[in-house]
Every structure is written in C-alpha cells, then in structure tokens.
C-alpha cells in the first residue's frame, strides 16, 4: 500500500508537522541475567513448569483506580508463565527478591552511553516501570537510567539522545486467546539497554536511517547480542495537536517509513474526525448513547442474522449501543483499508478480550458485511428509537466482556472528541497499526525498594572510557574524511570483522572499490560455492592485494585463485609464490590473439583463465597484456 509515496518528501512532512523519535531496545552480550544469576539461552523444548498469576492495577494518585485499568482488571486475564529449570530461578517467578545488579551489564551500558555521548549519571537508582499486561511476572520492569542528554552524528547534524536506560527484558508471548495469555520465561531478565532519541527525525526515511545507524553503532561495539529479537525498535510518531503514539515491535527497518507515514496520516484523520464531531455539536456533555440487551428478543423471535445466530447458539449475549448523531463517522478511513470502526474493534479485541473477528458490526456497514436482514434491522432500529444520523454498534460474547466492550465503544468516542488518544500500537508489515494498549505515563514509575543506590565512580568511568576503541562514529569519520571511502561502502567496511585489514589496505592506497569487489562480492560468491573464505588469514589476503598492486596477478584472476586455494587447501601465499619467472609478452601475444579469435566472448577473465591454464605457475606480463588489449579496444 506504500507504493508511489515519497517518504523523504521533506516539504510534505514539514507541512503536516511530522515528528518522530525512536526507542531502540538492545540486548547486551553478558553471561548472566541482570538481576539474578541465571544463564542466558533461548529454549525450544517443552517448559518444565507453569505458574498462574493475575495482575492487579495499583491505586492512582487520587486513591482510586484508573477507569481503564479497572476495566482491564474486570475482564481479567489469566497470566500463565511457562518456565525452564535451566534458565529460570525463583527470581523470575517473582518469588525471590532481586540480587545486586550484574556489573558486566552495568559496564556495557555505561560504555554504550559513552558511545552516544551521554552524561553518565553519578548515582543510579533502580526504578520499577509498571506493566499490567503480564509480560513481566512482577508486574513491573526493573529499569535504571544510566545516561542522559547525549547525541549522535547524522548527516550534517546531531540527533539528540534523551536517555539510555538499563533494563531487564520481558517474557516472550506464546499466545493470547480470550482470557488467557501465555508467556515463556527464557527471555525474561536478559539485560538490555533502551536508547531513546528526541523527536529529531524529519521524514520517515530519516527515522529508518537513524534506526539503522543506532543499530550499527551498537553492533560495532561488539558488546551486544545479535539474532532474532535481540534488537527491537519502537517508533514514536506525532503531529501538531495529535499525540505521541508509540508503535511497538517494528521487526524490520524497511517497515519504518510506511508505519510512521501512516501513523502521522491516522492522526491527521482523527483530527478531522474531532472537527467533524465539533461541527455536529457532539461533546462530552451532549453526547448520548443507549445500551440494550438484544438477547431475550432474539431468542424469542429467532434471529436470522448469521453472527447473532451463532452467538446465541454458543449461549453468548448480544448487546448493542446506539450512538446518537454519529452516523457515517465509523466508516471514516484512518489508514488505507482501515476505518474508525476497525480502530474501535481493535481496542475491544484487547480490552474486552473479544478476539474472534468481527467482534463488532454496525448499521453503517454495507449489509453484506453486517449480514443482518433488513426487516430485523428495522425492528432493532425501532426498538432504539433510531433517527438519522444515528448509528448502532452490536457486539456479542460473555456478558462481562460485552459490557466492557460497549463501554469501550463509548470511551473511544469520547476520546475522539479530544483527537488522538495516547496509546501504544502494534505494527503490521503492510504499514498499518492496531491498538495495543493505553500508553502509560511517567506516573507508572516508582523506586525499587529492593536496591540500594549505587554510585558510578570516576575510576570506573575512566576505565571504561579507556577501553573504548574504534567506535563506529570515529571510524566513519576516518573512512569518510581521511580515507575517502564512498558513503555506501563505509558501513560494510567498518562493521566487517576484517576492518583492521581494510584500514591497512586503504592506508596503502588500495582502491575502496577493489576491496569491496574482493572482500565482499568475491567472498559472497565463494560462500555460494560452499567454500569458506573466512578461514583465510588477513596476512594472506594482504599478499593477494600486494600481488595485484605490483601487477603480478590481474584482478579478474582473483576469483579463480581464491577458489583454487580454498578447494586445494593450499595456502594462498604458496600459490602466489609459485608464480615465479615471468612469461615474456611476445611469447603470450600469439596465444592471446588465438584465444581472442576463437572465443567470441572477449571477456578478460576468460582470457586470463585460459592463459593461466597454459602457464599455471608463471607470472603473466599483465601490464603489457592490458596495454595491448586497450590498444585493440581503441581501434
């Protein structure tokens, strides 16, 4: 759905007031977990044990429960944790208090803060960040600020880093069906850093590029985990008068442009909806709705609507809510193929646990979608005293869930009067997003009484500083400014495990393109031939480049030489050394002419291949051959 959109159209995004920041979660490469001494491993076998828990909202500032939190609590979830003897202890079960913080993780986190030019805090305080979704058995995540107010270079400006915190990872979700959510305990407790940028990115493409850059800097540090789920990105998007929306779980960088674009779009559409409600004179005081239980009447009169019939068959309740004066608005498209009604449905799915779709239908839907026969619909409308432009929304399920759902419809309409409700949204690859949960504010943070404050000494800071070498940003600068490497080659070069060799080659004036050709393109080719060029030592490769530089071999021969070396298991240096006494050009010339005549393909590599077959251990007069070929080509 994102074709033909220029995600880098600065003018357009400035016009709509596009604002976006990133939260990058990166697991750290430590031996043990953050607050206990369990080893780190993802497991795929059957869990060894299970526990059942419930999460309960804590009291708010005013000594009451937040309405939404309480609603979520009423349609309560059975939270099941699947645990593994190997990687879970009673700490992860929330049955043992935390142990002192893993110093290895702390030092890596400090190092990462320095990489992003953050002020490292003088004394760290562990905080608890509440999560009611069950993803952490305690009901909160232990998290601590390590760095503040940093920055990273991007293009010709700085992207500001708001903060970097060290946190324990949450559980992996296995399933979420109805009132039961299942989690897996292996990932729980793995140390990770959360890097939060300011909303400094101006277009969706910039968001993607900065996300990529953050990942690159982290990878170059060598202190982070790689693999599926080791790096997770949340993207925050807002427009003026909209709100900061957190898009969770963006699994691939390439999804970012569409996701951020359509989120900004959704917010502008919701602002249009707000205006429309104002025009219709609907506000919190005037808004009227009416809920009716349709179950008894439907049982009596035998409904002919498919959804209702099935619901009654399963002994579920069918209820409906009339929304006074809201006719037409539920069909408003917020994202391509995603209407306001879909948005409400998403919220009901999560909060009321009604996850069989469709979970709502309404009178503004075309009849082929709601499947309620006209006569029946008229009856219901009459019952409600329906007048245009009203709309009736139906839902069905267990009584408590239906009550929650209809109340949620009402709440969502009230939210629409304010524009864009704060929430976290789940990312889908096609660029659309769906409700995940209400966005919790800073009030969900409180101190962890299980930990003493911990000072970060100047000595520790200095020690870590001293050990930081060859950061991505430093090398990027060096490669770009001093070694004159084209921008697109810098990242692969700097991230390569052969970076020291590459730097050496560049310092001895080897062309970046040649390095790319051999160490990347040719190596990829060799790997496809099931050979392992990674086993060749840097010193051997240095000799290879030297031979090219002195003209002992031709670039177009390299592929074959490497292949021979790897296949025969003979050291590259031996092959190169064998090429001793040079063949004279006049000896080669007739051969060349013959080959050139015979072969219609005047491919250089073929020519060298044939010459090499003829003179397997001689050095070829490469300079003369090339001059001769050039002169022929010139004619």
């Amino acid at each position: 759905m994102s074709k033909n959109i220029d995600f880098n159209d600065l003018k357009f995004y400035q016009k709509i007031g596009f604002m976006s920041g990133l939260e990058v979660h990166q697991q750290l490469k430590t031996e043990k977990k953050l607050f206990c001494h369990c080893p780190i491993e993802y497991l795929h076998n059957e869990p060894d044990a299970r526990i059942l828990r419930h999460m309960r909202p804590t009291l708010s500032e005013m000594g009451t429960y937040d309405g939404t939190a309480l609603m979520e609590f009423k349609t309560k979830k059975n939270v099941i944790y699947n645990l593994f003897t190997k990687v879970n202890c009673t700490y992860e079960m929330d049955d043992t208090p935390p142990f002192l913080i893993n110093t290895e993780a702390l030092e890596i986190a400090v190092e990462i803060c320095l990489l992003f030019n953050c002020a490292v805090v003088d004394e760290i305080h562990v905080a608890r960040k509440q999560y009611l979704d069950g993803s952490i058995p305690t009901g909160f995540q232990r998290t601590l600020i390590i760095g503040l107010q940093g920055w990273m270079p991007y293009k010709d400006r700085k992207i500001r880093i708001r903060q970097i915190s060290l946190e324990e990872d949450s559980c992996r979700e296995i399933s979420d069906i109805g009132h039961t959510i299942n989690f897996k305990g292996d990932r729980l407790g793995i140390p990770l850093v959360e890097i939060v940028t300011e909303p400094d990115m101006k277009t969706p493409i910039e968001v993607m590029e900065v996300a990529d850059l953050i990942g690159t800097i982290l990878r170059k540090s060598g202190r982070v985990r790689s693999g599926i789920g080791a790096t997770r990105k949340d993207v925050n998007v807002g427009v003026p008068e909209g709100t900061r929306i957190e898009i969770k779980g963006v699994s691939k960088l390439k999804y970012i442009p569409a996701l951020t674009h359509y989120e900004a779009l959704r917010q502008t559409k919701l602002l249009e909806l707000k205006k429309e409600l104002q025009i219709r004179g609907i506000n919190k005081d005037t808004f009227k709705s009416m809920i009716r239980n349709l179950t008894p009447a439907m049982k009596k009169n035998k409904t002919n609507s498919l959804y209702f019939k099935n619901a009654l068959k399963e002994k579920l309740e069918v209820k409906a809510i009339l929304l006074k004066g809201l006719g037409g608005l539920l069909n408003k498209e917020l994202q391509p193929n995603f209407t306001f009604s879909d948005e409400i449905s998403g919220r009901i799915r999560v909060i009321a646990c009604l996850d069989n779709l469709p979970n709502i239908i309404h009178t503004d839907m075309p009849s082929e979608k709601h499947l309620v026969p006209d006569a029946e619909l008229d009856e219901i409308k009459k019952l409600f005293g329906f007048e245009t432009p009203d709309v009736i929304v139906f839902t069905w399920g267990e009584n408590a869930d239906v009550e929650t759902a209809l109340n949620e419809v009402k709440l969502r309409i009230i939210d629409a009067m304010d524009g864009v409700p704060s929430e976290t949204r789940q990312a889908f690859p096609d660029g659309h997003t769906d409700f995940e949960r209400i966005l919790p504010g800073p009030e969900r943070m409180y101190p962890d009484t299980d930990h003493p404050a911990q000072q970060i000494s100047k000595e520790l800071l200095d020690k870590i500083k001293k050990n930081i070498k060859n950061t991505y940003n430093e090398l990027h600068e060096l490669y770009l400014k001093k070694l004159k490497v084209p921008e697109k080659l810098i990242k692969p070069f700097v991230l390569s495990s052969r970076e020291p060799l590459i730097r050496k080659l560049l310092n001895s004036k080897t062309e970046p393109s040649l390095i790319n050709e051999i160490l990347f393109n040719t190596f990829t080719y060799l790997k496809r031939c099931r050979l392992n060029p990674d086993n060749i030592q840097d010193t051997e490769l240095e000799l290879l480049f030297e031979s090219i530089r002195t003209g002992e071999i031709n670039t177009s021969e390299v592929k074959q030489i490497l292949k021979d070396a790897l296949q025969s298991n003979i050291k590259l240096s031996e092959i190169l050394n064998k090429l001793e006494s040079p063949v004279e050009f006049k000896q080669v010339k007739p051969e060349m002419d013959k080959i050139l005549k015979e072969s219609k393909e005047k491919k250089l590599s073929l020519l060298y291949k044939l010459l090499r077959e003829k003179y397997p251990d001689k050095r070829l007069p490469i300079k003369e051959i090339n001059e001769y070929l050039n002169s022929k080509a010139g004619k």
């Binding site: 299970r50 526990i51 003897t85 000072q455």
Partner: protein
C-alpha cells in the same frame, strides 16, 4: 515545617549545597551541573545511603543521584510538599453481610503509590482498604482496629497479649470473624501463642499477610486479604488459622492451623506450610473447602476464653555439634525458667551438655526437646542418648514445632512454675500442637529433578 524536614535523610555535604541554593526536599528544581541541566523534584534520601548525592526525580519518572560536587547552580521553581495520605471512600455497609473486624499489627496489607515522589503509602482504615481492594465489600462489613505498627520481628509478649485481648473484646461484641494483619516473618509465632491465649473461640480468627508488597501489580496481598475475609465472614472453622497462598500460582489459599504452621522460605508466596499434618482447608474468595474434618466449628455463642498469662523467661536453643555447656549455664545463671531445645534427629544433644542440663533440672528449670528436622517426633527412648537426656529431666515434646513449644512454654510458665504441672500442661494438646499421628501425606518435601516430580510439574501449576 522544621529544618530537618527540609533535608529529610540528607547529611552534611548535601545540606550545605541545598542551603547555598535555597533548595529543599520537595522542591521543583532546575539543576545545572557540569554534566548538563536537569529538572525534577528533590526527593528525600534514605538515611543509610552515603552523603554527597542529591536524589532527583526527573519528569520521565526516573530517579537519579547527582554528585553535589558536580552542581553549578540550582533554582527552585516550585514547591509542593508530599502528603502521604490516602483519600478515603466510605466502606459500604450491608446489613445482610457478616461483620468482620480487622486487627492491624503492622506491615502493610494494602497500599498505594504517591506518583510524585514514588513513595508507598499504607492503606488501613476501612475506607482506605475499600479503595485498595473494593471486592472486600462483597464479602463482609469491615471494621478496622490498629493495635500497633511494628515490624513482625518486633512482635513479642506485650503485643501478643494486646492482640488476644482485642480478639476477646471483638468476639464478645458479636463479630462474625476476626482477621489479623501481620508481617509474615513471625506470623507463625503469633499464630502459635494466640492458639493458647485465645480459647474456645466461637468464630474464625484468621491471620494474613503478604509476601509481595501491595504496591505491585503481582502482589499476593489483595488475594490473601479476600481469602482471609471470606474465611472469617463465611468460614465454619472457629480456630486460629493462617491464610496464605497454597501454590505460588494465584489459585487458592490454604488455611493452616496456628500451631502447625511455619514459614518455610524467605520469600516465596507459598512460604507457609503445615508441618507434620494437613492444612485445615483450601479457600478462595468464593468458597472454602475443608481438607481436615477435626476442626472446631463456628458457634452462635460468645463464650470465648482469653488467657494471657505469660512468663517471658523462656529460651530456645538450636543445638549444633560441639555446643559448649556454657550456653545452657548462662541461661540458668540469667534466671531462665524454661528452655526449649531443638535437637538433632529424634531429639539429641552431645554429652558435654549433660552436666549443664543436670544443673538446670536441679534449679527447677523446665527443659523440653523438639526436633530441628521440624517434621517428625522427638522420640527419646530409641537411643541411649535420648534415654540419658530424659534421665537428666529433658522432656520430649512430641511433634510440637520448636517455635510453638517456645511460646507455649512461656504461656504455661505464666500459669505455674511447678515442674510436674508444667510438664503436664506442655504435653496436653490445647490446639493441635501435638498430634497423635503424622498422616502418610503429612510429610511431603518433593525433590526437584526426579523424573516423577518433573512430570508432575509439567502437568500442574506450581
């Protein structure tokens, strides 16, 4: 507000800096440091934390400590003192519901957070509790009495006696049941002594606490409280019982007899276990299912007997190899009237203690033997050592738990110091503290890692 309140928990170095910039605890503050400028609220500091760091809650909700040596300037932009109080909403009264009295001894059963400062504020009055656990109103009408506010390790005879008397008063007032909020560490000591001081209760007396504080979503407090209030209001078991999680999963609570229960893990939710017998019942907020049948049933009368005589010259000695007799001697010399020994195996101590034990007997000190294995009986006629010890006046206390024997001996000595009478009272069970038999499933400590238990754990909630 006085001066110390302005600098709550801070010491010299920080106070100097705060004074210099006219800032104080609860200031909304802008702090310029050589690492950057931060805004937030100045929080009090823990008394035990080192000097030199100022704790600031940032607007993101995170707290950080700032080395005062790094501070260049501070500007107070506002001030709002935190008042740690929970607004109350009235606990609904329903004439058709039973009346339950909650006695508070300390520790927090329910609480709420102060979001500005992150502090945890305990909730206790019915109105506060209703705010925290509204489901309680579905179970009973609640009255609360705060007896004292002490940590559970500071509970002692004085508090036990006050609690027992309060129970007597409330029962005579006609309540349907008593709930006692208590810290978990010494809950089994208190449960034990209340089983002796409170006799013939016509209503349930339920002790409850929490292993995970109630300021967290995963807390066991609300569920424990609901189960306890249900047991007190609707249960049929008129005994002193401890009501805590059965499994670590939030599935049901167990009601443990006050004289047979013990805290067995320093932190798990299901830490309380009945030792050497079966729990009396399972309970959840909707129903109570008896496991045992020999419990005392609820009655309509108010004929409760409160007997709080207590002599605190009692000690408990946990035997270890190579124990020297001077341990016992010092108790004798310090005027102790009763000693409970937690002996090895069936109830043994080493020979070097014999002269000291003999001396104790001569001084009229009552010495009883319990087992440090917790499960099983002191059976001192099996080996010579046991027979020797009995000769020296050490009396085996059956399968009475050491802590229960300790509080019972204090209670018995409050009534008589006549050694024969003491022995007679100690060995005559009052509330199930000694049982005639340990049922076959009375001892179950399964061992993890064995195939059958691994299989069991895969199939059942822990």
């Amino acid at each position: 507000m006085n001066n110390t309140d302005n600098f709550k928990g801070y010491k010299e170095d920080v106070i100097k800096v705060l004074k210099k910039f006219n800032a104080r605890v609860w200031s909304d503050i802008e702090i310029e440091t050589n690492k950057g400028t931060f805004t937030g609220v100045v929080l009090p500091r823990s008394e035990t934390a080192p000097d030199g760091y100022l704790v600031v809650k940032l607007i993101t909700g995170y707290n950080i400590g700032i080395d005062v040596n790094n501070i260049i300037n501070m500007k107070e932009t506002g001030f709002k003192e935190a008042h740690y109080k929970i607004p109350e909403s009235e606990f609904p009264v329903d004439e058709n519901k039973p009346n339950v009295t909650l006695l508070g001894t300390g520790g927090t059963i329910a609480s709420r957070l102060d979001y500005r400062t992150g502090a945890v504020i305990p909730a206790f009055s019915p109105g506060e509790l209703y705010g925290a656990v509204p489901e309680l109103a579905d179970l009973a009408n609640l009255k609360t009495i705060k007896l004292f506010g002490v940590f559970s390790e500071n509970m002692g005879p004085e508090q036990w006696i006050t609690t027992a008397k309060a129970i007597g008063d409330e029962v005579r007032n006609g309540v349907a049941g008593i709930v006692i909020g208590h810290g978990t560490d010494t809950m089994h000591h208190t449960a034990g002594i209340l089983s002796f001081m409170v006799q013939n209760s016509p209503v349930p007396i339920i002790m409850v606490g929490s292993q995970r504080s109630s300021d967290r979503p995963s807390s066991d407090a609300a569920f424990n409280l609901r189960c306890a209030v249900y047991s007190a209001a609707h249960g049929d078991i008129a005994e002193v019982l401890v009501c805590m999680f059965g499994p670590t999963s939030e599935k049901y609570n167990l009601l443990h007899r006050g004289t047979r229960v013990r805290k067995m893990h320093s932190s798990t939710r299901n830490t309380f276990r009945t030792i050497g017998d079966l729990p009396v019942a399972m309970v959840d907020p909707e129903k109570l299912t008896p496991i045992k049948t020999d419990y005392k049933k609820r009655r309509k009368d108010k004929d409760i007997k409160i007997d709080t005589e207590y002599n605190d010259r009692v000690a408990m000695v946990y035997y270890y190899p190579d124990m020297k007799p001077d341990i016992i001697d010092s108790l004798i010399d310090n005027g102790y009237k009763g000693i409970i020994i937690a002996g090895t195996g069936l109830g043994h101590v080493n020979k070097p203690l014999y002269p000291a034990l003999k001396r104790a007997k001569e001084k009229g000190i009552s010495v009883f033997m319990t087992v440090q294995t917790l499960w099983g009986f002191a059976q001192m006629y099996v080996y010579d050592t046991g027979r020797d010890l009995m000769e020296l006046g050490v009396v085996p206390a059956g399968n009475m738990l050491p802590e229960v024997a300790y509080v019972k001996l204090g209670w018995v000595l409050g009534h008589t110091t006549d050694r024969d009478k003491v022995v007679e009272m100690m060995l005559k069970p009052v509330a199930g503290e000694i049982t005639e038999r340990e049922p076959e499933n009375g001892y179950l400590i399964f061992q993890g890692g064995t195939p059958e238990i691994s299989e069991f754990l895969k199939k059942n909630f822990r």
